[in-house]
């Protein structure tokens, strides 16, 4: 296994599309690194550049100590799991697994042994003699993973390997991948646009937007202190409420009069926006202490929680996460107050975290 170093990666396709503008990544040996971002932000392109399937326009890629810019994919010793079409359609599971090993020219007994081992790890025993189209989506993905595993490559690249599975299967596979990754101590770059997947899998997460890295951090860091307005609006479901605020007499207030705990080091004379997680707000009875008057617009019952959408003076559609036991009817007059610690505050003009 080896770490991966991506420096100033830039990729412009021949038709002029800049898929990756500027990306720096430093992925540790044995790390499960997740790249998260909306569709079209350049995740796949970055991954393909690391694999050698796409030549970057500028920038360097190191795998371990080796500069791999000019190495063809075959010499980079990397395994990749694709979103679709992960398996050779005309080969049985067994041969799909054996394929990369035969390509390496390993002796037959060893091929056999490794295939059986990977099949055992991914519990593929009964599927070994089927072709891909005789397998369910989940089974196909398991075979694809096993196929990546048999090689014992220096790193694994996964391009949204679970997107075409149903929710339950996805959760199972997630656990499985995380477990395997830990077991093997594998370096893994995992691309997804599903934030739940990113949060639950990643040691660290890189959030990409329009070919640039917006933030790199642990899931907790990324959730607690999104580095930019983009991240704030992207992470969480529902995401942070972005509320315009101003500082007056050492206090932080929203336009609608909601009092917030000011974080230290707030800049002066700037237009600021606070990012407040729905769970850092509370819907109360009208007139409760510290609350401002508000009105319930709608409520979304999710079973284990309720998301209230409330309006208050000067601010529409604020989302509040409440336990399911506390109920207000739509259109009810209520109070709204902030309960969490100091919120993340962003500069409107730079869109970056300032405090």
């Amino acid at each position: 296994m080896a770490g991966i170093e991506v420096t100033a990666l830039h990729k412009r396709y021949p038709d002029g599309t800049v898929a990756v503008d500027h990306v720096d990544l430093s992925i540790g040996d044995g790390e499960l690194f997740v790249m998260l971002g909306p569709s079209g932000c350049g995740k796949t392109t970055t991954l393909r550049a690391i694999a050698g399937l796409e030549r970057q326009t500028t920038g360097d890629i190191h795998i371990g100590e080796t500069l791999v810019n000019d190495l063809p994919p075959a010499e980079r010793d990397i395994a990749m799991v694709f979103q679709f079409y992960a398996l050779y359609p005309h080969l049985k599971t067994r041969d799909n697994l054996a394929f990369p090993l035969r390509a390496e020219g390993l002796p037959k007994p060893e091929v056999h042994e490794r295939v059986n081992e990977a099949a055992r790890l991914m519990r593929l025993g009964p599927l070994l003699d089927r072709r891909p189209r005789q397998l369910s989506g989940g089974e196909q993905q398991r075979v694809a993973l096993a196929r990546a595993l048999v090689r014992r490559p220096r790193a694994f690249l996964m391009d949204e390997p679970l997107t075409n599975l149903d929710a339950e299967l996805r959760a199972d596979m997630r656990t499985e991948i995380k477990h395997l990754q830990g077991e093997l101590g594998a370096t893994m770059v995992y691309v997804t646009h599903d934030q739940v997947e990113a949060m639950s899998l990643g040691h660290r997460i890189a959030i990409l937007n329009k070919g640039r890295v917006e933030q790199i951090g642990t899931p907790l860091e990324v959730y607690d202190r999104p580095a930019s307005l983009f991240c704030a609006a992207f992470i969480g479901s529902p995401p942070m409420n972005l509320i315009e605020v101003e500082v007056a007499d050492g206090k932080l207030r929203s336009a609608g009069g909601l009092g917030l705990t000011p974080p230290p080091g707030l800049p002066r004379d700037r237009r600021l926006v606070a990012g407040i997680r729905p769970e850092a707000l509370e819907v109360t009875a009208p007139g409760a202490e510290g609350s401002i008057p508000a009105r319930v617009v709608s409520a979304e019952w999710l079973g284990d929680e309720i998301i209230y959408v409330v309006d208050h003076d000067g601010q529409r559609d604020v989302r509040v996460r409440m336990p399911p036991t506390i109920r207000f009817a739509a259109d009810a007059k209520v109070g709204l107050r902030h309960t969490g610690g100091a919120p993340a505050v962003y500069d409107v003009s730079t869109e970056e975290l300032v405090a």
């Binding site: 063809p72 075959a74 990397i78 990749m80 079409y85 359609p89 990369p100 390509a103």
Partner: protein, 303 residues
């Protein structure tokens, strides 16, 4: 081969084209449709029917007035004459059939060997001015052969290719390569590039990846394309009659045409030779029938 061509049909250009007339429905309309189609079928099929009848009639029945549709005496003599010379041994016609098979076969293989990798390259790689190149390649097919046959004739005379099978093979291959590229590009486009990507990560070079993964998946498409090329070369008349003259080089179309004229024409022989000539085309056309329909309605190629 029949099976593989049918597989090709499921992924091929014909997919997703419902018969357009169905959409409008209406009983009167469908009656009219049937009547028109019947008339058309009779008009189209009558010459074929007449050809077949003539080929099995004795010569005096051929000239009978009024013409006899039924009840004539059936003979296979004309078919024998197609293959066997009057004094015994092989007839000139049978040699020309053999020539046709060789020329059509070799030129098709050549066009396939050249066209398939080119199609793959156009599909997979970013090539400068790809669209213009593809259009240029296609444009070589715009001109009817008869327009360029004189220059080709002069070039061939210089190159010593006149009246040689090699000459015909080359010109047919040149005509079929653009067709093969266009047709095959559609098929290659439908094979996900990921298979090759995966193979390359597994340690293969790009060419090996193409050879081992993409090519096997293209076989049905190649078969269909090759059949089209084969039919073109088999049927081709203009180049054949201008560029060849001797009996041992001539292909069947000019040879059959050569039977007509002179003082008397042995229509029975002409008809029998035509039947023999048409059979392979019918068989092949049957194999690629769905592609043929797409070819008529859309142009055989997409994009």
């Amino acid at each position: 081969m029949a099976v593989s061509v049918d597989e090709a049909v499921s992924t091929g250009p014909a997919r997703g084209h419902a018969p357009p007339a169905r959409r409008f429905g209406g009983r009167g309309r469908s009656v009219l449709e049937v009547v028109l189609l019947t008339v058309l079928a009779v008009v189209m099929l009558f010459p074929v029917l007449w050809m077949i009848e003539t080929s099995i009639k004795e010569n005096r029945d051929v000239y009978a007035i009024p013409a006899e549709f039924f009840g004539f005496k059936v003979t296979m003599d004309h078919f024998k004459d197609v293959f066997v010379a009057p004094g015994g041994g092989r007839s000139a016609l049978s040699v020309s059939f053999l020539n046709s098979a060789v020329v059509a076969g070799v030129s098709t293989v050549l066009a396939t060997v050249l066209g398939v990798p080119a199609a793959w390259a156009y599909s997979r790689f970013s090539v400068k001015a790809k669209k213009d190149q593809l259009f240029f390649i296609l444009s070589t097919r715009f001109m009817p052969p008869v327009v360029i046959v004189i220059p080709i004739f002069l070039m061939y005379r210089q190159a010593g290719l006149i009246d040689s099978k090699l000459g015909l093979i080359l010109i047919y291959a040149a005509f079929n390569v653009p067709f093969t590229i266009w047709m095959m590009k559609g098929f290659v486009d439908e094979v996900p590039a990921e298979y090759e990507d995966a193979a390359m990560l597994d340690g293969y070079t790009r060419l090996q990846a193409f050879w081992k993964f993409t090519l096997p998946l293209l076989v049905p498409g190649i078969a269909a394309t090759a059949v089209f090329a084969l039919i073109f070369s088999w049927n081709e008349f203009v180049f054949a009659i201008f560029l060849t003259s001797s009996d041992d080089v001539r292909t069947a179309p000019p040879a059959i045409a050569g039977l007509i004229g002179g003082t008397t024409t042995d229509w029975g022989l002409v008809a029998a030779a035509s039947v023999v000539f048409a059979l392979p085309v019918l068989v092949f056309a049957y194999l690629v029938r769905k592609h043929l329909i797409a070819g008529v309605t859309l142009g055989a190629v997409r994009r």
